[in-house]
Amino acid sequence: MKITVAEAYASLNENYDEVLTRLLGKENLVIKYLTMFKNDGTYDQLSAAYEKGDAEESLKAAHSLKGMCFNLGLLGLGTACSDMVDAIRGGEYDLDALYRPIAAEYTKVIDALNKCLD
């Protein structure tokens, strides 16, 4: 069953109005970016880097993902990415513990997007 973008954001506990206002009130633009986000390969790069235990590459991918998420108001996922960036930069980190919340948030976001996008 298809839901609206606003409903998808609500299910993720994200603020859709803020995103819409920031993107000049144009829902078609929001949908365009969300579609690009859904098809973007950055999360796969992050997962691959994580599988290899490559912290440097994980950081780069997490940073890119964070930028996209913040632009789209996907703060849950964005914050999880941000935590990874900060921790790896800080030098003391557990890659597993950082990756798990990202994977969980990402799955939630993609599920929601699948329901609202064609």
Partner: protein, 372 residues
């Protein structure tokens, strides 16, 4: 005036970021996109004149935004082209690093499209104004310089004309003075002087003989040898020139001070046997020494009623052989180094010099402005 949209280069490795910026900008700007730093530098180098601003992502695969800034700065491409950095990175150290490397503004993600547009427009207008101002100031300075130089040449030539000197003598002295001052500092850094000073001394050199205006025609234009008494009067032109300028009451005007030195001391000799003050060696200011040798060289290589124009080689032989006075060895070396093309170089026009001076003055201005 046709209104063309300014061109903005968007540099970001993430497609979504480029698309987003493009959507924001497309109604007001032409956009070009680069998906990595190397490509961005290529585009900037080939299309520098057309790019009004760059939006640069900080975090990219090599070279990242900071690397790109360093390269642009090294190539001198940041001077007239504003770069705004965009990043999801908000730590103060990160932002400071961007500013240190020459970005004019820093926008963090997530950004508000209207603010991006405003900041971008402001920066572009600011830079456009600055570039326009640079061009204007350059033009005005060069025009004023040109008029000043022309006036000095005209008046100095009037004196030379009365003296039966050839028309281009003043121009030759000016050019030779410049060539020699530049060559001297190339040979030895102790002779260094900033380019605007070289230009000033060259202008002052045109006035070296203005004191002859106060010498009686009968002596000035006497065919044949001067008596000892007449020669003593003739020699006074150096002091007369100095006094004429002294009485202008333009004290502390650097050009006048320079001309005073040149008028008074361009007949001094390295061995102390010149006039009017019998200064020796380095007591004689370098520019006065330069004008002295330039004066002799031009007299030798120009035609006179009593002599043909000697070749460069013959003139050099006579000067280095001590037949025409005694000079600073460094100055003789400089004259030799400039070489046989000296005549052509003497006739070169000096337009580039105006540009150079303007550029320097503007640099100074800009430094002052940035301190405010």
């Amino acid at each position: 005036m046709t209104k063309t949209k300014p061109t903005v280069l968007i540099v970001d490795d993430m497609e979504m970021n480029r698309v987003m910026l493009n959507d924001i900008l497309e109604s007001d700007f032409n956009t070009i996109e680069a998906d990595n730093g190397t490509r961005a530098i290529e585009i900037i180098e080939s299309d520098y004149e057309n790019i009004s601003a760059v939006l640069l992502d900080a975090m990219m695969p090599e070279p990242d935004g900071f690397e790109v800034l360093k390269i642009l700065s090294r190539k001198g491409l940041l001077e007239n082209m504003p770069v705004i950095m965009i990043s999801a990175e908000n730590s103060p150290e990160y932002i400071a690093c961007g500013y240190d490397l020459g970005v004019v503004d820093y926008i963090s993600r997530p950004f508000d499209p209207n603010i991006v547009l405003r900041r971008l427009s402001n920066v572009i207008i600011l830079y456009a104004k600055q570039n326009l101002l640079t061009a204007l100031i350059k033009e005005q300075i060069s025009k004023r310089e040109e008029n000043n130089t022309m006036l000095i040449d005209v008046l100095s030539s009037v004196v030379e004309f009365r003296n039966g000197e050839s028309g281009p003598h003043v121009l030759h002295i000016r050019r030779l003075t410049e060539l020699l001052l530049n060559e001297l500092q190339r040979l030895d850094s102790k002779y260094y002087m900033p380019p605007q000073d070289v230009a000033m001394w060259a202008t002052a050199s045109a006035m070296h003989d203005i004191g002859k205006i106060a010498i009686d025609d009968k002596i000035l234009n006497k065919p044949g040898r001067l008596t000892d008494e007449e020669y003593e009067i003739m020699k006074k032109h150096s002091v007369y020139g100095y006094e004429i300028l002294e009485h202008l009451n333009w004290h502390n005007a650097p050009l006048i001070e320079a001309a005073k030195q040149i008028c008074r001391w361009h007949h001094e000799r390295w061995d102390g046997r010149g006039y009017p003050d019998g200064l020796t060696g380095s007591e004689i200011p370098i520019p006065a020494q330069v004008v002295a040798i330039a004066d002799v060289y031009d007299a030798l290589t120009s035609e006179r009623v009593y002599k043909p124009a000697y070749s460069h080689e013959k003139a050099l032989d006579m000067i280095t052989g001590g037949e025409c006075g005694a000079f600073n060895p460094d100055l003789l070396e400089a004259l030799v180094q400039i070489g046989p093309n000296i005549k052509n170089k003497m006739d070169d026009d000096t337009d580039q010099d105006y540009d150079r001076i303007a550029e320097q003055i503007f640099e100074g201005l800009r430094e002052k402005l940035s301190e405010i």
